[in-house]
């Protein structure tokens, strides 16, 4: 590999790192359900209210202004944040479901997930602790 292409590859890497940091989807440490990416998407879009093992879900999301929220919604759910808000509004204002719990830090998400067996959240992958189980990273 030439120096030019190495430099180019490196700059691409830096660029992608700056687009968004790696995000980890986490659940309670004792959650043994087999949860795939599609399940997670449905849970965070309000389409699925239970894990594959039948237990209810309690999703946790970030404040609407945060960059991790935008990265999760657009990068993983492939929706704009306002679309996600509109989808949940249909459930909230018909009483069918409560909106996801909103946090403003990884620490708050970790605290909720580690103490709630039904919780599912996403955080910056570098903030993950052994108290929670990582489903996958992206």
């Amino acid at each position: 590999m030439t120096l030019v292409s190495k430099t180019f590859a490196l700059s691409l890497l830096i660029l992608s790192a700056s687009v968004h940091a790696e995000i980890a989807v986490i659940v309670h440490a004792e959650n043994t359900a087999s949860i795939n990416e599609d399940d997670v998407k449905k849970i965070f879009m309000g389409k699925l209210a239970q894990f594959p093992d039948g237990k209810p879900t309690s999703p946790v999301t970030f404040n609407i202004d945060s960059s991790i929220r935008e990265n999760f919604d657009t990068g993983f759910l492939s929706r704009q944040t306002h679309q996600i808000e509109a989808m949940w509004s249909k459930l909230v204002f018909t009483g069918k479901s409560s909106a996801p719990k909103v946090v403003d830090s990884s620490a708050a998400a970790l605290e909720y997930v580690s103490s709630n067996p039904n919780a599912i959240a996403y955080i910056d992958a570098k903030d993950v602790t052994p108290n929670v189980k990582v489903l996958f990273k992206f």
């Binding site: 704009q80 306002h82 509109a86 909230v92 204002f93 069918k96 409560s98």
Partner: protein, 476 residues
């Protein structure tokens, strides 16, 4: 094309002669108060068992501030047929504007009470908040939820959240379809089953209850029972929903008397008619002392058709939605069966939009028409001969058989709009509707969603009415 004359207008007037007295209004308000107090008591009862009851309490809200106008000074647009007046050529803010406040109290992870107050201009021309949702729900397990109280009758795809415009692309639900059933609430109970199978998620809902819907003229429509089922399946970007409601309704005046009390028998062309009533001691143009039932053998069965007394109000509905995040398309079709002077009808719409980031332009087309039924009077030959002479003397042409037909209208709407999510929890929408009421079954009419203050029936104008709307929707 013929213009409707006063005689032709009559069946329409009769069909919409929904009446209720202030006494009935007080009853409705009283019931709301009782309902609210019951919910408040439940919430209060919950507090005594909770250490930090505030943690279990949550609230949220939604609303729309909207400006609407038409392009005709004499044609007012109304968002729903319970509004006493609407917006004509000047911008008005009181058509689609709405504000809702919802509070929820979780007694436990499984049981909660939900109360939603909704304020929008109503049939009494004020903004008095009404209790739109007030129920207690209990989750039996992750799949089954039961609830009892007041909720929305889910007759159409978007019925549940038809007031939450932020949830929808449009500025308001398509008038052609959603005005076919003004029903909003139901007092009753339901059970919802939700589950998934591989990549499919699905839901079944059974509900039953009743409701009384007041109208501006003091009357009401009493839904004696409403019982229905909805089923929906979601797969990837697709949603399919089917719904059916079986209901019985009565159209009553302010005294609780079922309307109408007479029938307009069409005896000549251009809708020339006679009003006959079972209460008449002598039927018009008959021998003294001869009632209409004695004169016309099938008079009572025709009166039964005309009077909306415990008549069906059955709605069948199908919706197909595709939304991959960028492209959005929603199609819905419905059929209404009433077997009465209130026509059976059908309506459908399709709305399609494409998201460019926070901006989504969209177009929609909707269509509705009534499915007419005609009943013929079995009048004696001598009676018709005499009456035909009177028709000719009055300057009109005779017809072969005397009849009554139910409400007739037909309409299509082409809409274009844009939604701009300009701020968190807020969307700006601009929409232009080109609405075309059409002559139907030889009768001109004013279509759905309009009040004509002067001039020809709208369909007789031979051109479309343009409705312009600018609105801001919000949630919090």
């Amino acid at each position: 094309m013929k213009h409707i004359n006063e005689a032709k207008k009559r069946p329409i007037d009769m069909a919409y002669g929904n009446t209720i007295g202030y006494q009935k209004v007080r009853e409705v308000r009283h019931r709301l108060s009782v309902c609210f107090m019951a919910c408040a008591s439940l919430c209060w009862a919950g507090t005594s068992h909770a250490d930090s009851w505030l943690d279990n309490f949550s609230y949220s809200g939604f609303g729309t501030l909207s400006a609407v106008k038409t392009n005709n000074q004499d044609i007012e647009f109304i968002q729903n047929n319970r509004l006493p007046d609407g917006a004509a050529k000047n911008w008005r803010f009181d058509n689609d504007s709405v504000f809702g406040l919802q509070s929820q109290y979780a007694f436990s992870g499984r049981t909660k009470a939900v109360v939603q107050l909704l304020s929008r201009r109503n049939h009494r021309n004020n903004y008095e908040p009404q209790l739109d949702w007030a129920y207690v729900s209990h989750k039996l397990n992750p799949n089954y939820t039961v609830r009892a109280g007041r909720f929305i009758s889910p007759v159409f795809f978007a019925s549940d959240y038809r007031n939450v415009n932020y949830s929808n692309a449009w500025v308001r639900p398509p008038i052609d379809m959603y005005s076919q059933a003004t029903i909003n609430n139901i007092d009753g109970a339901d059970i919802v089953y939700r589950n998934f199978y591989e990549d499919f998620t699905y839901q079944l809902q059974f509900y039953a209850g009743q409701y009384t819907l007041p109208f501006p003229n003091g009357g009401d429509i009493k839904f004696h029972h409403m019982a229905g089922i909805t089923g929906s399946v979601e797969y990837e970007s697709w949603t399919l929903r089917l719904g059916y409601m079986d209901a019985k309704h009565s159209n009553r005046d302010g005294n609780g008397t079922v309307q109408p009390t007479g029938v307009r028998m069409i005896v000549g062309q251009d809708g020339v008619g006679l009003t006959l009533s079972p209460a008449d001691a002598t039927c018009a143009f008959a021998q003294p002392g001869t009632t209409c039932a004695q004169l016309i053998p099938n008079f009572n069965s025709i009166m039964d058709f005309v009077r909306r007394d415990k008549k069906p109000f059955d709605l069948a509905n199908l919706a197909v939605v595709y939304d991959n995040g960028l492209l959005f398309n929603q199609f819905e079709i419905m059929h209404r069966q009433t077997d009465s002077i209130l026509s059976n009808g059908m309506a459908a719409y399709n709305i399609m939009g494409y998201r460019f980031g926070k901006i989504m332009p969209y177009v929609s087309y909707s269509y509705s028409k009534t499915l007419n039924e005609t009943r013929y009077f079995d009048v004696p030959a001598w009676y018709k001969t005499g009456l035909d002479e009177a028709v000719i003397d009055a300057g009109f042409k005779t017809i072969d058989r005397y009849y009554i037909t139910n409400i007739s209208n037909r309409q299509n709407t082409l809409s274009a709009g844009v939604r701009y999510d300009f701020y968190k929890g807020m969307a700006l929408k601009i929409q232009i509707d080109k609405v075309r009421p059409l002559e139907h079954m030889g009768m001109d009419n004013d279509g759905n969603g309009f009040i004509r203050r002067d001039g020809l029936p709208i369909s007789a104008l031979g051109r479309s009415i343009f409705v312009s709307t600018v609105s801001i929707d919000f949630i919090f």
